[in-house]
Amino acid sequence: MKLQQNTRLALYSLLEFAAAPERQISAAEIAQKYAVSSHHLAKVLAELSRVGMVQSVRGVGGGYRFVGNARRLTLMDVISRFEDVLPAENVGSQQTPVGHALASVLSEIDEIARASMSSITLATMLRITERQQQGSR
């Protein structure tokens, strides 16, 4: 499953914020860590701020703070802000018997991906990160 760059940046950012909810983290800090442009990241963070997942803090030492509920927000909640996650409609070639059969097989994979993303919260994702870090030590 491939996610668009904006979606990945949104997930990286939210997980960084959710891992340290008491901290204000600047876009520049995240941009440097993930080797992306601050300008590009700012657009992603603006969207996350608009939907209420993060809050921008103005002034000296400003940045962003996580204001969501990490135990309830799922990866799909974030992904669906940046990507079209609705099942593909059967149009054109998919209306042929072969097209329809292939669409039904591909939809199996989509359904599993959707179920996975909808069941993993940011809090769970942080635990997965921690576990993998411990495993690699």
């Binding site: 590009h40 969501g68 802000r81 909808s118 069941s119 635990r127």
Partner: protein, 178 residues
């Protein structure tokens, strides 16, 4: 460079997840400590009530059969545990060690777990799962598996929060023609 999606108004469902305050349990947490123990006959009515509430189906004969097969069956790797607070049975977990099914070395399988809706968010399911996993460990297995409907987001989220990841099996099915 991919475009940011056209702004949409956050849905009511999303808004409910944006509060930084976790939702409170449905009832006041009881002062009594939670105990996990093997099921007894007297627990069955409560187990059936929980299952009926969650599934909408009362399967009394099924649960009686399950009790006969799984109660006091630890020696054969079967476990039926309940979570009790005070004198109230508030949850259950059922599982067993299965050997070489689907080509897999012996592992523990959890095939039912639930907590009364009014007793959720108190760690009961976590303790139930931990208890049955402890039993699996004592039986000598080092892996636990489960299977559930992909639209059961609540239980999927729970298992995910406990560290479970998608396994190497793919469940398949076929409608049998009459």
């Amino acid at each position: 460079m991919s475009k940011i999606a056209v702004p949409r108004v956050p849905s009511k469902r999303l808004k409910s997840k944006l509060s930084a305050t976790p939702p409170a349990p449905s009832t006041e947490p009881s002062a009594a400590a939670l105990k996990i123990r093997p099921v007894r006959r007297a627990d069955l009515d409560a187990v059936i009530e929980i299952d009926t509430m969650v599934t909408g189906l009362e399967k009394r004969a099924y649960w009686n059969s399950l009790y006969r097969r799984y109660a006091d069956a630890v020696a054969t790797g079967q476990h039926f545990l309940v979570a009790v607070r005070g004198d109230e049975t508030i949850g259950f977990v059922i599982g067993e060690v299965r050997d070489w099914e689907f080509g897999a070395p012996p592992c523990g399988w959890v095939f039912a777990i639930d907590v009364h809706p009014q007793a959720r968010l108190s760690g009961a399911a976590t303790q139930l799962l931990k208890a049955i996993c402890d039993n699996f460990r004592k039986a000598g297995v080092s892996k636990v598996r489960t299977m559930l409907a992909r639209d059961n987001t609540l239980i999927l989220s729970f298992f995910r929060s406990q560290g479970m990841m998608i396994g190497p099996f793919i469940p398949l099915e076929l409608d049998l023609e009459p």
